[in-house]
């Protein structure tokens, strides 16, 4: 018997409190017990989750006007510069911007204690934040400087807008050189002394819908502990399916641009993050519901760690020099076991992405849907999928 459901049918069941909602991990167990067809018939929604450092995050803040008025030209929040070339009292604070006085990597490896991600985390934690602004003054906006303290509740709008989040899949980083390196994948010891990876595997949202059949512009999601939406595809969105030894794999691929009202988010799910020797960023919690419209969607949503793979990449030499290729693929089951074998060498692994937090997100989102508080949205526009064959370009230099 074929399975066909619509968004409207699923939402009617959610409103009536009759929808069957499971997390992606629960779906795996269900498919093992009952088979794919039965599971696809029974289940209406599968919830996913991920909690990891996500660069390309930030927030638009609209402070409200001063008296007399001011057209801000430079803005700092707790000493971290925000971009205000948008309008008089609007600014964008980016997650990787560092404090003005940060020694950066001059005392290598630098600590990068406080950056834009920490400012966003402090705002959402309702901590007071110092606002400093300078201006050149105009007839309509005469004021030239401002130093005050704000909180998230004082300002008019705070909109989290992350241009690239929720990476579908990511490299497993090793180091073939003979010195320790400090990267956005953490500290990696020489001669493949350790391997770091950063994906929730079988709970990771975009690994569960690799053809972008259900996740598109307008999809309502769990974002930073509150409600958010998919705004567009993320930057560097290059979804593709690759064939490794006859196995169909989603490559690093897809990304999402996501947005939502920062005021309803929570400090548990937006955490300021520092990488020794690399920089600062923001860890973001994202959960996406996948409606089980048909059996094919269920089949992808039920992929387990044994069937999902990450490329192993040398961050000592190949990555920084932008040399293509990798050292092979390893499954998330192997990565999560704590040991992988690369070039015949056994290496211990560590994640940068929190599985307990990913599970908590998937379970929270499931709870919201079961209570009837959260309904699914049909995308108003689909996102480029592997079939569109987008590829990346590098910068052309003169």
């Amino acid at each position: 018997m074929s399975v066909e459901k619509t968004y409207a049918e699923i939402n009617t069941k959610i409103k009536a409190g009759k929808a069957i909602v499971v997390t992606a991990e629960e779906l795996i167990t269900l498919v093992e017990e009952k088979g794919l067809t039965k599971a696809a018939q029974e289940v209406d929604v599968v919830t996913t989750g991920t909690f990891a450092p996500m660069c390309s995050s930030g927030a638009f803040l609209s402070f409200g006007h001063t008296k007399p008025r001011m057209k801000m030209q430079k803005v700092w929040l707790n000493g971290v510069a925000a971009y205000t070339g948008i309008a008089a009292v609007d600014a964008y604070i980016g997650a990787t911007e560092m404090h003005e006085d940060d020694p950066l990597n001059s005392n290598y490896p630098g600590e990068f204690r406080y950056g834009g991600g920490h400012v966003i985390a402090d705002l959402v934690a309702r901590k007071p934040v110092k606002l400093k602004a300078l201006a050149y003054g105009t007839d309509c906006y005469p004021r030239r400087n401002l130093e005050t303290t704000i909180t998230l509740d004082d300002i008019n709008e705070a909109i989290l807008f992350n241009p690239r989040n929720a990476y579908q899949n990511y490299n497993c980083a090793v180091n073939l050189t003979d010195r320790t390196i400090y990267t956005y994948m953490g500290m990696i010891k020489p001669h493949m002394g350790n391997a770091n990876y950063s994906t929730a595997g079988q709970l990771s949202p975009l690994l569960k819908d690799p053809h972008f059949k259900t996740i598109g512009v307008g999809t309502k999601i769990f974002l930073g502990g509150g409600i958010g939406y998919v705004a567009w595809n993320g930057t560097q969105h290059f979804p593709s399916m690759i064939d490794v030894e006859g196995k169909e794999l989603g490559s690093a691929g897809g990304t999402l641009a996501v947005t939502g009202d920062l005021k309803q988010m929570s400090p548990r799910w937006l955490v300021g993050t520092s990488y020794l020797g690399y920089g600062a960023t923001l860890s973001v919690g994202i959960g996406i519901p996948i409606p089980i419209l048909n059996k094919e969607i269920a089949r992808y949503a039920a992929k387990k760690d044994e069937e999902l793979f990450a490329p192993v990449v040398d961050y000592g030499e190949a990555y920084p020099s932008f040399t293509p290729g990798n050292l092979g693929y390893v499954s998330y089951a192997d990565l999560k076991s704590g040991k992988i074998t690369v070039n015949g060498k056994e290496i211990s692994t560590a994640p940068l992405s929190s599985m307990p937090r990913a599970r908590e997100i998937a379970a929270t989102l499931k709870g919201w849907i079961l209570k009837g508080e959260f309904q699914l949205t049909e995308p108003v526009k689909t996102l480029p999928s592997p079939a569109d064959g987008f590829t990346a370009h590098s910068i052309k230099e003169d």
């Binding site: 909690f51 990891a52 450092p53 490896p109 600590e111 204690r113 953490g186 500290m187 010891k189 350790n194 391997a195 770091n196 955490v271 300021g272 993050t273 520092s274 990488y275 020794l276 860890s283 999560k336 076991s337 704590g338 211990s348 692994t349 560590a350 994640p351 940068l352 992405s353 929190s354 599985m355 307990p356 937090r357």
Partner: protein, 133 residues
Amino acid sequence: MSPKRIVLRFGTDISVKPIVYRLVKDYDLVVNIVKADVNPQKEGTMILEVTGDQSEDGLNYLRNLGVSVQNLTQEIVRNDEKCVMCGACTGVCPTGALYMERPSMEVRFDGDQCVFCQLCVKVCPMWAMEVRL
């Protein structure tokens, strides 16, 4: 005289030398080995309690051999409010004091295994590992 708690860290060349025996025999020290992780393949660590009049001389003997000697007046603690259980620290902790429980992938901290190298303090992206005096 109260014992001195110290942490020793040394390279593979020292692992094969009878350094504890020398402390006892040549410097007349009472040595209690609290913990030892000695393996000729990798960096070794030892936590000792030493008592005796010549303890400073004994420690200088170790320093001259190239052993790093650190007084143990500090303690490493995890701030559970800040820890997000990512697991990044488990890749650098040399003794397995920070480890992942499987299959839950929760990160556990066993202070008894800690040798105070402070690598986790630097590497934890959330500043959740703290030095307490």
